[in-house]
């Protein structure tokens, strides 16, 4: 049995949904950032799988995935910096406790 494109798309969809669930349900800012990272990886799997199975000779998807990784790394780094700065002020990373502003 060979593993085809649908299997990879399904894996990506699963990872993406897991990430989305994590972002919306987790209370800790760090967990939310990790869930975001899951979603970014789902996108990368999608890109690489499409590229591998549809246009294997061109590598477009792989290059796109490289750029995605750079952007995701920069974003998560920025997010961690924000969380650390906030931790210095409030001594917590629980999103429920960060509620100075009325929402």
């Amino acid at each position: 049995m060979t593993v085809g494109l649908p299997a990879f798309l399904l894996l990506a969809a699963l990872l993406f949904s897991l990430g989305l669930y994590g972002v919306t349900s987790k209370k800790s800012a760090v967990m939310v950032l990790m869930s975001l990272e899951l979603m970014a990886n789902a996108v990368n799997i999608n890109l690489v799988a499409f590229s591998r199975f549809l246009t294997p000779e061109k590598m477009t998807g792989q290059v796109f995935a490289m750029f995605m990784m750079v952007v995701a790394a920069a974003e998560i780094g920025l997010g961690l910096a924000l969380v650390i700065a906030l931790y210095r002020q409030t001594k917590t990373v629980e999103l429920d406790h960060i509620n100075e502003l009325r929402g």
């Binding site: 975001l36 477009t60 796109f64 920025l78 997010g79 002020q89």
Partner: protein, 470 residues
């Protein structure tokens, strides 16, 4: 080599950003802001002087939209220049401004490149380059937990929606098998195209602060330094809306399903933004809610899915940015709550009267330019057959008058209990910045002049945009 000359404006802004990062060697915040303002102004002019090729880097960037591309790139650089001039005069809410100036310029580079992006990779990269500095700007007061909290909310929402958009883009790539802009090849049922389009649009709608991606905006605006809000709520919105319109026109399939989704967002955003704006007593929160309603009006034009609708959606956001930039700069120097601006007309008549012009433009009161933007999207949506949404939108723009007049009333009535002389808030940056009220005042008057004057040439501008988008 000659075709690369078209990127000289972006290069000028980029160099200025790097110079601003090292402003310590040059003499500090004011020098950084002045260099940035001069470079952005130069870029705004140079855009018109360099030869423009059809495409660059294997059509990762294309300039086929002619004057529209030039106008938007020049407009973004020009507004950034005015904003930085104001920063040079007044500083950045009492904290070091030089890094903020650099971040502003980086974001401007991203916005300017985003205008010509015509490849999924450049689209995503430029969009992120334009927004990532914005997260930092919103949390720029690192000692202030309110600022950080607002920035974190903004960051989480924006990254989440960016990733949803990236997921959609990966399907666009999968269906087309290449990343350059071309009509989406939907293999399979039509709803697949709609689903992919919705995923992609989520990213843009959240950048435009449309409902249901709006909840962070008022909090972030209230917590962040007002100067940051001026940039993020105004200038950084222009490029994404054009990129979205371009993507819809060139890649994503237009369908009733998609239009309906966008229209529902619009019909939710407009009343939500306007009713919530009515009860605010802080101009910054009010600006956030009015931005949500503006996103709704913009989406009316997008849902129409005609060149006229797209053109007026872009025009609306661009002119809205002019007025909001002005209003937020007034807030940044006078304070945001109604108590802060009470009796402003006595203390700073120029700022107060300019604020009146901005507010009228924001609610779409003729002859201010905002009126023509709203008129454009409403007539486009009407012609596309959306009677009920247009009716709601028109009724709501009457209600919108309420929040504008609440602010005006606050400015024109003296504050309770506060004697006139002590009512003047001490400028936060008085120690570092010997005030240069003339420069800041000039910027505010110029923006008010634009809010008024652009109205006179609104129709030719919209038809120019329309011609290049059809």
């Amino acid at each position: 080599m000659q075709q690369y000359a078209v990127l000289i404006p972006e290069l000028i802004v980029l160099v200025a950003a790097l110079v601003a990062l090292f402003a310590d060697l040059l003499g500090g915040d004011r020098v950084a802001a002045m260099v940035g303002a001069a470079a952005a102004a130069m870029a705004a002019v140079v855009v018109w002087l360099v030869p423009v090729p059809e495409a660059l880097f294997g059509s990762m960037l294309t300039f086929t939209h002619g004057t529209t591309t030039l106008m938007l790139r020049s407009g973004i650089a020009g507004l950034t220049s005015l904003f930085l001039l104001w920063v040079a005069a007044r500083g950045w809410a009492g904290v070091r401004a030089r890094e903020a100036v650099a971040l502003t310029l980086f974001s401007t580079v991203g916005s300017m490149l985003l205008i010509s992006a015509s490849d999924l990779v450049t689209l995503f990269l430029c969009l992120e380059l334009a927004t990532m500095p914005a997260y930092v700007l919103m949390g720029y007061s690192a000692e202030d937990k309110r600022s950080l909290e607002g920035a974190l909310k903004y960051f989480l929402m924006s990254v989440l929606t960016s990733l949803v958009m990236a997921y959609g883009l990966s399907f666009v790539f999968g269906m087309n098998q290449h990343t350059s802009y071309s009509p989406l090849q939907v293999a399979g049922p039509a709803w697949l195209g709609v689903a992919v389009s919705v995923l992609v649009l989520v990213g843009f709608l959240s950048k435009m602060t449309a409902a249901p991606f709006h909840y962070w905006v008022p909090d972030a605006n209230e917590g962040a330094p007002s100067a940051s809000v001026a940039f993020v709520a105004a200038i950084s919105k222009i490029a994404p809306v054009y990129a979205m319109v371009r993507l819809l026109a060139e890649v994503l399939p237009t369908s009733d399903g998609l239009s309906r989704v966008v229209m529902i967002c619009a019909v939710v955003s407009i009343p939500l933004g306007i009713f919530a704006a009515l009860v605010q007593t802080d101009v910054r929160r009010m600006v956030a809610y009015s931005g949500i309603s503006m996103a709704g009006y913009m989406m009316l034009g997008v849902a129409a899915a005609t060149p006229a609708g797209y053109a007026s959606a872009v025009f609306l956001v661009a002119v809205y940015a002019v007025s909001v930039l002005g209003l937020m700069l007034v807030v940044a120097q006078e304070g945001g709550t109604f108590a802060d601006i009470a009796g402003l007309v006595k203390r700073r008549p120029v700022a107060a009267w300019s604020a009146v012009v901005y507010l009228f433009s924001i609610i779409g009161f003729p002859p201010m330019v905002g009126f023509y933007g709203k008129l454009g999207v409403l007539s486009a949506a009407y012609r596309a057959g959306y009677f009920i949404p247009v009716l709601i939108a028109v009724l709501m723009s009457v209600v919108a008058g309420g929040y504008a007049f609440a602010v005006i009333r606050a400015m024109f009535t003296p504050g309770e209990g506060a004697p006139e002389e002590t009512g003047i808030p001490a400028p936060v940056d008085a120690t570092e910045y010997p005030q240069a009220p003339a420069l800041a005042g000039t910027v505010i008057v110029v923006l008010a002049g634009l809010s008024l004057g652009l109205g006179l040439i609104a129709e030719p501008l919209i038809s120019l945009l329309q011609a290049s988008l059809s």
